[in-house]
């Protein structure tokens, strides 16, 4: 301002600096639940050496991380944990969904495995493969760096849509509605009130859900 520069020029340059700093010092949170985690470890080890791209500091505390790498299948019992860890990470933060299972459930189309984590947490980058090659993860980190350099801002304006603090204990981990099961699974299972087409047999109701 003292130089008589327009305000937007000044801000834009600092944004660029902040993006450069953030993109070259990603701290991954390894959420490794399956064989993709082995590839993730290989990427961190000497042969592939993700330190060349500034993302070697794996921290197991989400409060010290800004990049979550979900490597492996996520089951129903793990999903509330995943969401809680995601909420505990400070902003700005990004998420890579690594491998077929994290992206779509992979071959595990069963009653307990979540069919793609992007239905429940935001995902920035997907890596296909079963498991992906380490080079693919390195490419994903490079792509994410490009993305951060293009879209990031110093003040975090890209995250401004956030309006209120939401923590997992404020949200019910289990649905309080009645679940119709088995029934028509092609669309959804939450149907309340139960109608003639989707009757709820008394033996199928959980005591917990009956009280609600």
């Amino acid at each position: 301002m003292a130089l008589g520069l327009p305000e937007n020029v000044f801000i834009a340059n600092l944004d660029k600096l902040a993006n450069w700093v953030r993109a070259n010092s990603l701290w991954p949170m390894p959420f490794a639940t399956a064989c993709c985690g082995i590839e993730l470890m290989a990427v961190g080890a000497s042969r592939y050496d993700i330190a060349r791209f500034g993302a070697e500091v794996m921290r197991f505390s989400p409060r010290q991380c800004d990049l979550m790498i979900v490597a492996g299948r996520i089951v129903m019992k793990m999903l509330p944990v995943l969401q809680r860890i995601w909420l505990q990470m400070p902003e700005p933060k990004w998420c890579i969904s690594m491998g077929a299972c994290a992206c779509s459930g992979g071959v595990f189309d069963t009653y307990a495995v979540v069919q793609g984590i992007d239905r429940f947490i935001p995902v920035d980058l997907y890596i296909p493969g079963c498991p992906p090659r380490p080079e693919q993860l390195i490419q994903a980190v490079l792509d994410l760096q490009e993305q951060i350099k293009k879209t990031g801002t110093l003040t975090g304006r890209e995250f401004q849509r956030r309006t209120q603090l939401q923590t997992p204990h404020l949200r019910p981990a289990a649905p309080t509605d009645l679940i119709v099961a088995p029934g028509d699974y092609s669309t959804a299972t939450l149907r309340w009130p139960a109608d003639d087409k989707y009757p709820v047999h008394p033996s199928r109701r959980l005591p917990l859900l009956q009280d609600n």
Partner: protein, 168 residues
Amino acid sequence: MIAYHHILETLRRITGCSHLELRTFRDNVRLEVPREYLYPVLQHLKEGFGFDMLIDITAVDYLYYPDARRRFGVIYCLLNTSTGQRLVVKTYLDEPDLHLPSVFPLWKAADWLEREVYDMFGIVFDGHPDLRRILLPESFADYPLRKDYPLRGRGERHNFPTLSRAES
């Protein structure tokens, strides 16, 4: 080593149940027991014949099975650790009365095994000290190893809140 037919005759005499059946399949000896006599038979197998180890409890859903007359079969695998003798005890159940006596007083190993059968098939073991789901979340609404549970579709695994970028 006690002869299996001797075990069968003794059990028939003691329990007064004539419907006990002994079958063999590939060296695998099975004793089929009506559910009312299940607990006395298992108790005598443990205390009288030395089957002191409960290897496994599992169940089978015979829905849509060609020759099945009863829907559920519950299977107890026993081992006599001093002789190495093995015996499979099997009983049958039908809906809607899916209750069996818990064998937790006989073998402490039955604790988690019965919870697993309850979790997957919904068979209730009366007298179990803490009968609740062991593998699936408490909020799960069905018994997924039953044959009428759908193999595909979204099911219970989709009843979670969605965190958007704006919210997290």
